[in-house]
Every structure is written in C-alpha cells, then in structure tokens.
C-alpha cells in the first residue's frame, strides 16, 4: 500500500514498504542507462500515487538506488510543471491558458473557479498563468496548463481527464456541482 499522506503529517522517512521498494527497483532496471530515465521514473512514481504526487520518501529511496544526487532529483521534480510535491485533490479541474483560450475568456473561467472552490492564491505575484491549488478538504485541485492543443474548442477545461470544449461559466459551475454531489 502506498504511504498515506494526511494533512499536517510530515512524510514518513524510510517507511517505504517492501512492495514499493520492489516497484521502484524494477522501474529503475527497466530504464537503466536510457535517455530520459529520470523523467520517466518520476512520471511513473507520481502516476502510481492515488493523489498524484511525489512523496519525499520515494525520492530519497530513488536517489539511494540510482546514485543520482538528491539535489538533482529535487531540481528536476521542481522544474517541470507536471510534477507535484504535494498531494492533489480527488478531482482535478485544469483550465487551459493557451492563447486561443485566453482570447476566448479563459481567465474569467479561472477567476470563477477560484471563487467557486473558495481558493485564495497563497502568494499573489500577479501571474495567474501557472497555478495549482488544492482545497483544504482535498476534494478539488485547480490547475492551469499552458495549452492542451485543443485550440479549436477554446475555451477548454479538463475535468478529471475529460476534455470539455466551448466552456462557459455556467457549464463549468454545473460540472463542479455534479462532482460535489457525486462524491458526497
């Protein structure tokens, strides 16, 4: 079983189960020496987590087994937008901030969602382009993506990996309401 991360708990160090250690060992063996190894390892580890993130104990184990310095792994994990160091919500709403979506009002959708989910940016540096926020109850994560490449459907929102095209505020509200009720 993957280590459960509870709000407020510090990740437990060295607590990886034998099963998880074995998973990582086999993963390393299948990618050893290949270009792009570290990216692929991190992608697969994150994908395995129910809350889609990279727990610290996994990264430490990975560093020990591959010999890649922990600092380098941390550097990679923080550099790329796809990696999360914090657990993500049960549902993910991802708003496309591509050019076509922007010209068709995706910023209003983003503002609307923040309001709907009661999310307040941790630090407002004026750049709402790259964002990932999770509600305190960990039900919802609101993210943005640079572009889904679905520009003809702009504005585009991905709700739990399903693409919705030509979205307006009302349609988005309905989606969120449905998720709220569905998971109650």
């Amino acid at each position: 079983m993957p280590a459960e991360f509870l709000p407020g708990d510090a990740p437990q160090r060295g607590a990886l189960s034998f099963e998880e250690q074995d998973f990582i060992d086999r993963l390393i063996a299948s990618h050893q020496g290949q270009p792009g190894m570290l990216l692929s390892l991190l992608e697969e580890i994150q994908e395995r987590q129910p809350h889609k993130y990279l727990p610290a104990d996994y990264l430490e184990y990975l560093a020990a087994r591959t010999g890649i310095p922990g600092a380098q792994i941390y550097s990679v994990a923080t550099f790329y937008a796809l990696f999360n160091l914090k657990p993500q919500g049960d549902h993910t709403i991802c708003i496309c901030r591509g050019t076509a979506c922007h010209t068709r009002g995706s910023r209003d959708l983003l503002e609307r969602m923040k309001l709907q989910l009661g999310l307040v940016p941790e630090e407002d540096d004026g750049s709402a382009d790259k964002l990932s926020m999770t509600t305190p109850d960990r039900r919802f994560t609101l993210r943005t993506v640079a572009c889904f490449g679905q520009c003809a459907l702009a504005p585009v929102v991905e709700v739990d990996h399903a693409i919705h095209g030509h979205v307006n505020e009302r349609a988005l509200d309905r989606e969120v309401d449905a998720l709220r009720k569905g998971g109650a």
Partner: protein, 1051 residues
C-alpha cells in the same frame, strides 16, 4: 506476425491494407483525433457500432485520424464501393440511424455531407475511391480546403492510425524501402539539401545542412531526436500529425538515421498529449514487429531503435540544448552553443534534432525528388506548412498551405472571417516567440523572411486571429506572463528582464502606466532579445515589441486615458456595458436603482451620464448589447430601452419640475467664465449641458431655428418624435444653457469674434454635406441627396417625390430615406453594392424597412441614371457585382460583372455618406486632416487654435449619435480642466447608495423587446413606430442584469 523482408511480402501487406480501405462493403470511418473525441466522436462510434451489430449490417466500421476541419467535428468518412469517399460533418449519435439507412440503400446522407474525395494523392501512393455524387462539392472546392495542399497531412483523416497495413496501402514505408535498396545515403542528404527543406519548428534552419553535419561526425553512437514538445500555446499541428499518422514520423526518422549513421532515435513528446503518446507507442511496436524498425530493417542489415520519452511540462524544453539536458535527467536549462549538438549533444554524442513536421516531409522528398518539392511554396521557403488557425474565425482547424500564401487568405478565405460581425484586428503568429500582425498588413505572404521583417516569426505555425474584443496590451501582457513563468532562470536578461517587463505591462493594464514605461519596455525588450542565452529569451520580447509597434495607440489609450477599448483590462472599466458605451453611462447603477423602485434617482443617474436619454434610448446603436455578459446565458439586457423607459416616465410627468430643481441643485457655483458651443446637435448639446453644470455660462449657436441638429432635421419622426426631443432640449434650457438660433459660423459670427467674447469655444457642426456619387445622370431632375430630403420632410416642406424611388446606399441615412419615402406613398428599392452583413445601418432598421415594403437589391452598384429628353429621371442602371478579395476594412470588395440590371424610377435618393462642409473647414483656418476633418488632439480634443475645441462628426466623419455625444462630454471635461486648472469632473456626479450584491441566481425572465406597430399600419404614418417597455417589463429587464460592476474576491 509477417515480417517484411522483400518486395513480395511488402506488396502482400499493401494489398491487405487496400482491402481494408476499399472493402467490398460500405465503410464508415470516424475521425478520432483529440478534437473529434472532444466533440463527441466516441459516442458516435459507439452508436454506429451498436446499430450495425443490432441490425446485422455488413458495413466496415473503422477509426481514422483527423482531416483538419476542427470546427466541423465530429467528421465521419463514408464510402460506398465504386463511389467517392464522402466526409460528413458535425455528426451526432442520433444521426447514425439515418446514415445507416441511407448507406444500406446506396445513398449518401446529403444533409450532412461536407465534401467528397474521388481520388487522393498520398504523395507516396494513390487511392482511387470512385466517381459520382456530383452534387456534393469536391474537398478542395469548399472554402476551408481551397488552396490547401496536403503533403505533411497526406494521410491524416484518411487511414486508421493504429493499422500499419492501411499505412502501407497508401505508400507508407515506400520511401524507406527505396532508400535502403538504393543504398546511397549521401544522395538523400543531397536531395534534402536541394529541396531546401527548412526546419518546421520555427527557426527555419536548412535540414539538409544539419543532416550533413551529423553524417560527417565520427562517433560510436549518434542520436536523432524528434522534438514533439509542442509547447507554443495556440499550436497543435504536431499533436494531430502524430495522432493521425504516426508511421510517417517513424519512417522519416528511420531514413534520417540511415543517411546520417545514427542508430538511436528519440521522440520527445509533451505529456499533455496522451493520445499522441499512445498512438505513437502502438505504431513503434507495430513497426518493430513488421521488421521495419529495430534490428536488420527490411533485411538490409541496418539497425535503428526508436524510443518515446514524455516531457513533463516545460516550455523551454522546446529549445534543443534544454531538451537534451532534460533527456540527460537534468532540469531543462539550455547551454551555450557551440558546441552544437551535431558535435556534442546527448550524453556528449553527436545529435540532430528536428521538429515533428520536418520529419513528415522526408518521405515525400525521397520518393518524389527535390524538384517536385520546390514546385510548391516560395523560392526561399519551398514546400508547405501546417498552421493551426484558431481564435476569432468561423472555420477553425489545421490548414496546410504553400509557404508564401498571404495572411488574408488564411483569415478570410479559409477561416471565413469572424463569426459575430466584429472586425478582425490582428493575427498572432508564432506563439510567445512571435508577434501580432495588424489587419492592414494582411497582404503579407506567410514565409520565414517576411514574418521576421514584421517583427514576428513563423514559429511552429500557430495562428490566433484576434478581433476588436481583444486588447493588444493584454495580449502582450499575456505572452510575457507566459514566458516569464516558463523562463528557466539561468540567464539574467531573460529572468530579470521579463520580470521587469511584466511589471510595467501590469501597471499599464491597471491604468497606472506612464509614457516613460513605454520607452523602458522598448529598451528592455531589445536588451532581452540581444543578450539572452537561448531562443526563449531572444524571442520572448517579440509580442511586446510588435504590439507596441503596430498598436501603439492602444498602449497610449491605457496610459493617457485609462481606457481599454476592448474592455478586457478589468481595472479600467466598471463593467463591459459601461466600457462599451460612448457616454460611459453607469448602466448597472440605473438598472439597480430602477430595480429598487427609485425611479427619480434612476432618472438623475441617467441624465447626469447622458443628457439626451430619451432620444438615445430610441436611436442609439446600442454597443452595450454586444458586450452584455447575460448574452452568455440567454440574451443581452435591453439597456437602451430601460433608459428610454426611465426618461419617458419622467419627462412628460408632473415630477419633471422637481427633477429639474434637483439637477439645478447639483450645478456648481457660477465661475463667471463664458463658453460658446457651435452647433446644437447632440454633440453640442452634451457639451453645453456639462459646461453649464460645471458652472460656466454657455451660449449655443446654430444655423437652424431650433436645437437638436441631426436628431431634429435628419431623423424621421417615426424613429424620434419631435416632442420627445423638445422635452430634452427644454431640460437643457432650464438648467441655464442659452441658445442663439439662425446664426451661422463663420458667416454671421467669425471665429475671431468668438475668440474675443468667450473663454473657450467648442465646434460641433457635424457632417451636413452629402457625398456625391459621380455617375452619368446625377444632374437630372429627380436626383436628390438624402440629408436635404430628410430635412425638408422633417420641416414639413413639400418634397417632389416620384412613385418609384431608388435609394443608393446602405447606411442609416439610406434606410431612413427609404422608410420616409414609403410613408410619403412611394414604392422604394434600395441599391447596395455589398452584402447584407456589410450594411452599416442598424439591422433592426433594415428589417423594419423591408417589413414595410422596401426592396433591397444587394451586390448592385449604380452605373448610370437614365433620363427623359426633358431631363427627368426615368430609370437607373446598376452593374451586378460579385464578391472579390477582402479589402482593408475586412469586407469583400465588390467586383463589377458584365450583367447590368435596370430599374425604372422617377426619383433617385443618394445616401452614400455624409462629410464635413469643406468650406467651413477651410474658412475656419484650423488644421485639417487628409480626410477633410478638423484635426484635434486625440485626448484633449483641442484644435490647432488655442481655446478652440472640436468634437462629434466634425472630427470623426459621419458616425452615430452616442459616439458624437461622448466626444461632447469629453470636450466639456477637458475644457473645464483647462479653464479652471482643477480636476473637478468627478465631483460633479452625485453619489448613490444602492445594493452592491450580484444576484445569487440569474432571473428567469427573457429579454423584453419593444413592440413594433404592424408594418402596414406604421408604414402610412410618421407616428412613432415602436412602443416602449411597460413599467413591469422595464423592471424585469433591470432584474436580468448580472451586476458585473460588483467586485468580489481579490479585486
């Protein structure tokens, strides 16, 4: 699994594939790219599959990629043996039963057919589908595909991307076979060089040269990389190419490996493209099984491995050195070149990187030769390029065009222009590395060099069309925000420079910018461009530099007037409706006051914002309607009619004197300063009202015996009854504005005299001169200009009008003339040389004219007026026009044909536009623009002569009432600032306490329209043609407002 080792096993596989593409039964193939599935293709497939199974039909069902016309998705290809392939558009699951009925009966569902394909040139192969269905247009006859040449997209949307046999059937791996049999790698490198194939990732470097470097490099292991980290927002051609035709990429890379001596290939794909990843994985696996990839390819002893790596969301990894660092397990930060990857790339080995689309051009060049390739495109940029045409165009999708095609072909011909009558403003090319090209430059051919000259780049081929609802400052800010957050942070110019640029751009969009900021932004941009380490930084300032170059006035509007015309920059507007209103009425406020049943407060709010609310409530062009957010739910709030209702409820009522007193109490104490306003039209009245309210003594001069200008003398009574106008003028008189009528400037009183007597003079004499068309026959009796005609009618003078009247023109004056002539008992035909949608008149007015019996001949350009021997009009001849190229106004130019139509008539009314009386302009001694208008400072409205201001049509040319009044209001503000040296404008306006909460739920009420009298009744009388909203309806309209002015959250 069959391994292909020789020609006969190759041919066997091809035959098997062809049997799938052209089976003995009907075939249905559903477009299952991400665009298709995003539009519901999965459900369509399921529906077909269920129905075919249930009915036990013998129909082949397949999936295919995307044919590129995203706006018409889901696309479904249907084929009957011996017949052309027909592409159906916008297919929904409930269409499938009828489609199957048709196909089993040997028919094509005509209603859904988009186009047909008789045969298809796959470049490396050819498929003949069949003939028939002449009523369905050929694929390249419909506007979206016209002019497209599918080389890169040769297989997309026609074969099943997950079936290698279908790929083989259309000539797939043909080029690889040829390359390995010929066994002359150097000649292929030469071919690529001779074809002048340039890198399609954006920079446009010669691919053949890069391959030559790699082939000459000596090393144990060399790498080939396909850059599929398509990160430019607005570009998605690589996604579609891989999703729809993954094998062509693999084939191109194997050939590349063979000729450069590379044994390892890597495709670096964005993780945001899961379907592309999945399809490419499948294709790699298939190619390996079939002996086309891996060891001993085609039995020729060549080994090549291909690996797929998913990127993890970093835009900078599109830069080749950053991509290589990423593959090495590091953060994707670029490194300086040299060393170039061809010398020292991945893990220090020689490496070559090409964009996805570059690889797709390899097989066609190998099979067809470089001479064939250079036939297409421009001399320096041969071949085609795939563009993703998105944004504010009707036909969005992937467009493969020869390089060198002009931009306007993309926007208007292929894209079909904008959907909502908004004018196109610009096209953004090249994503965050590119720039915005203004509409005036749409003749620009799209190739590497020309775009670079305009400060943009071709980039990966994103083309985002923007219209007047898009703010160019916001666009610049958007891209800098993007590159700012994607900057890897390694070099200072990019990291710090973009941060500073964003800071200045944020200030400008918040209305806090200064002129100096523009200079700083320019300087910063150049510094970042010239000194950054990699392509990201070197191109990141392009969006700012090009928008500042081509749209400087928008930056200036934000800085000098705190104005965002597009209404995007929220901090500069109260609400979208307020921002669109030329008078900047606080619309949400008067709606809310009415909702709170405070009619008198609502009236004060309305009149203080717009001194002619009853007149404009009838005749305004209502730009607010187009901006109302409620139209996203059902339709816009009918704001114009609500302020008409408010005004109509007060003016003729006993409460009027109290409200005059209330307004007079708001008037500032007398300043003793004297102002003259020349022209008592709407512009002059607006200016006079505010100057008086600010405490100045105001005298209005007019050549006519009464006030109102065009409202009184050009607008017919059925649109604006004179008593309505009289009451509004009465109010303006009651607050203390004085009038001198029947006095001409400068004939009766000169500008010098005005200068001596007044502290400031505002000129607003409008455009009373009718443009004259130079046609044979205009000298005949019975040819009359529109304005004098309308003026005579409104002055109740007798007008000699024939029974059959022709009106030439398509503006409001033309429609007013037509409806007036109808009311005088004539039959009316309007001649207009363009299409209906190009008419400048208010659409409701045109519809009303038609309902009343006016005929309109579109695409008819007057040619000559025919007269009788005694010099009277007897007929007019018009040349039928057809629509040609798009002109600089974004409308299609009417081109005369040989066809001439004759209309018998006895009167011709010319309504082709009004202009400033040039004699006045010259006599004034003021500076005149090229268009014959009075020149003023855009922000202060001051003319070339001190103390003299001008506004309205006199400075803009013929426009509309509210626009002109807006300028009168603005002039009053500037005159007062100049006279008193104080900024006291805001103090003039009373404060109201009213509810500041947005409605929890939008009200259920639909939009209320005014009631029109029956056409046959109203067409015989000059009484008002519409009846305003009732109190209940006006109240319900107010409740429909969503209160965009209420700020919540972090605002």
């Amino acid at each position: 699994m069959p391994r292909i080792t020789d020609l006969s096993s190759f041919n066997e596989a091809r035959e098997a594939g062809l049997a799938k593409l052209l089976p003995p039964t009907p075939r249905i193939a559903i477009g299952m790219g991400t665009c298709g599935t995003g539009n519901g293709a999965e459900a369509v497939l399921q529906s077909f599959s269920d129905a075919i199974n249930q009915r036990g039909l013998s129909i082949a069902l397949a999936r295919t990629g995307c044919f590129g016309f995203c706006a018409a998705e889901p696309l479904v290809n249907v084929w009957l043996p011996g017949k052309p392939l027909v592409i159906l558009q916008r297919v929904q699951p409930n269409d499938t039963a009828a489609i199957l009925d048709d196909l089993t009966a040997g028919r094509i569902p005509a209603g859904l057919a988009l186009c047909r394909i008789d045969e298809w040139d796959h470049i490396t192969g050819h498929v003949k589908y069949g003939s028939g269905f002449p009523e369905i247009p050929l694929w390249n006859e419909i506007p979206f595909f016209k002019g497209q040449k599918k080389i890169v997209l040769r297989n997309c949307g026609l074969i099943d991307p997950t079936d290698i046999e279908e790929f083989l059937a259309v000539g797939g791996y043909q080029a690889l076979y040829k390359a390995l049999i010929d066994a002359n790698p150097a000649s292929i490198v030469e071919s690529i060089k001779a074809a002048k194939l340039r890198g399609r990732g954006g920079a446009g470097f010669q691919t053949g040269s890069k391959w030559e470097f790699l082939s000459k490099a000596k090393a144990d292991r060399k790498y080939l990389i396909c850059n599929a980290d398509e990160g430019d927002p607005g570009a998605y051609m690589n996604r579609n190419e891989i999703e729809s035709d993954p094998h062509s990429l693999i084939e191109g890379m194997i050939i590349g490996g063979y000729v450069t001596g590379a044994s390892h290939g890597i495709v670096y794909v964005r993780a945001e493209y899961p379907l592309a990843v999945h399809r490419l994985e499948t294709a790699i696996h298939q190619a390996e099984e079939w002996g086309l990839l891996g060891d001993n390819i085609l039995g020729r002893g060549f080994n090549f491995r291909l690996q797929l790596i998913e990127g993890a969301g970093a835009f900078v990894c599109g830069e080749e050195t950053a991509l290589i660092r990423s593959l090495e397990g590091k953060a994707g930060r670029p490194t300086p070149r040299p060393p170039y990857p061809a010398d020292s790339g991945l893990f220090g080995q020689p490496t070559n990187i090409n964009n996805v689309e570059t690889w797709y051009n390899v097989a066609p060049i190998v099979v067809k030769g470089p001479a064939w390739f250079t036939e297409t495109g421009s001399p320096k940029s041969p071949g085609t390029k795939v563009f993703s045409l998105v944004g504010k165009v009707v036909n969005t999708g992937l467009v493969e065009m020869p390089l060198g095609t002009p931009l306007k072909t993309f926007v208007y011909d292929v894209g079909g222009g904008t959907a909502n009558d908004r004018a196109v403003k610009a096209v953004q090319t090249g994503g965050p590395s590119g720039g915005c090209i203004p509409q005036e430059m749409f003749d620009t051919p799209v190739d590497y060099e020309t775009l670079a000259q305009l400060g943009s780049i071709m980039g990966s081929g994103g083309m985002v069309v923007m219209d007047e609802d898009n703010c160019m400052v916001d666009v610049a800010r958007y891209f800098i925000e993007f590159t700012h957050s994607e900057s890897c942070g390694k070099c200072i110019p990019c990291r710090v420079g973009l941060d500073k640029s964003l800071h200045y751009l944020n200030r400008i969009t918040q209305g806090k910018g200064t002129e100096a900021d523009l200079a700083t932004l320019d300087e910063l941009g150049r510094m970042i461009r010239d000194t950054s380490l990699c392509g990201l930084g070197q191109t990141a300032p392009n969006p700012v530099l090009t928008t500042m170059r081509h749209f400087r006035h928008e930056f200036e509007d934000h800085i000098r007037a705190s104005r965002c015309r597009a209404g995007v920059c929220e901090d500069l507007a109260l609400s979208p409706c307020e921002n669109s209103c030329p008078l900047h009425m606080n619309i949400p406020r008067f709606l809310q006051l009415l909702k709170e049943d405070r009619l008198e407060d609502a009236f004060v709010s309305v009149v203080m914002d717009n001194p002619l609310p009853a007149s404009t409530g009838r005749v305004c062009q209502h730009p607010c309607d187009d901006r109302c957010r409620r139209s996203g739910i059902d339709s816009a709030v009918n704001m114009r009619e609500v302020h008409r209702h408010i005004a109509d409820s007060i003016y003729p009522s006993p409460r009027f004197p109290d409200l005059v007193a209330r307004l007079s109490a708001l008037r500032k104490p007398s300043t003793g300063l004297r102002c003259a306003v020349v022209g008592a039209g709407p512009t002059g009245l607006a200016c006079a009202f505010y100057l008086r309210m600010l405490g100045h003594d105001v005298m209005v001069y007019d050549s006519n015996p009464n006030a109102g200008g065009m409202l009184r003398y050009a607008l017919p009574d059925y649109r604006l009854p004179k008593e309505v106008l009289d009451r509004e003028v009465e109010l303006i008189k009651l607050i203390g504005v004085d009038f001198t009528f029947n006095t001409r400037v400068p004939a009766d009183i000169s500008l010098n005299e005005l200068d001596q007597r007044y502290n400031a003079v505002f000129l607003a004499i409008g455009t009373w001169k009718e443009n004259w068309v130079y046609l044979p026959g205009t000298e005949l009796t019975g040819v009359i200009p529109a304005l004098p005609f309308l003026e005579s009618v409104s002055k109740r003078e007798t007008v000699p009008l024939g029974k059959r009247v022709i009106v030439i023109g398509g503006g409001n004056a033309a429609i007013d003339s037509a409806r007036t002539a109808l009311r005088l008992g004539s039959g009316v035909t309007i001649l207009y040389r363009r299409e209906r949608k190009d008419m400048p008149a208010i659409p409701e007015e045109t519809e009303a004219a038609e309902a009343e019996g006016a005929k309109i001949a579109f695409l008819a350009s007057p040619h000559r007026i025919v007269g009788s021997p005694d010099g009277r009009v007897t007929a007019i001849e018009a040349v039928k026009t057809r629509l040609g190229e798009y002109d600089s106004s974004g409308r299609r130019r009417p081109i005369p044909t040989d066809e001439i139509v004759r209309f018998n008539c006895d009167t011709v009314i010319l309504a082709v536009g009004e202009t400033v009386d040039i004699d006045f302009a010259k006599a004034s001694g003021l500076k005149i623009s090229d268009r014959g208008l009075i020149e003023v400072d855009r922000y202060s409205l001051e003319t070339s002569r001190s103390k003299f201001y001008a506004g309205g049509d006199l400075i803009t040319g013929a426009s509309n009432v509210s626009g002109a009044m807006g300028l009168g209001k603005k002039a009053a503000r500037n005159i007062d600032k100049r006279l008193t040296g104080l900024k006291r404008w805001r103090d003039l306006f009373p404060k109201f306490e009213y509810d500041q909460a947005a409605p929890a739920h939008p009200s259920d009420s639909r939009r209320h329209h005014v009631r029109e009298l029956e056409a046959e009744d109203r067409a015989r009388t000059f009484s008002e043609a519409t009846v305003g909203l009732t109190s209940v309806e006006a109240m319900e309209e107010s409740c429909r407002c969503l209160r965009c002015d209420v700020r919540t959250g972090d605002h």
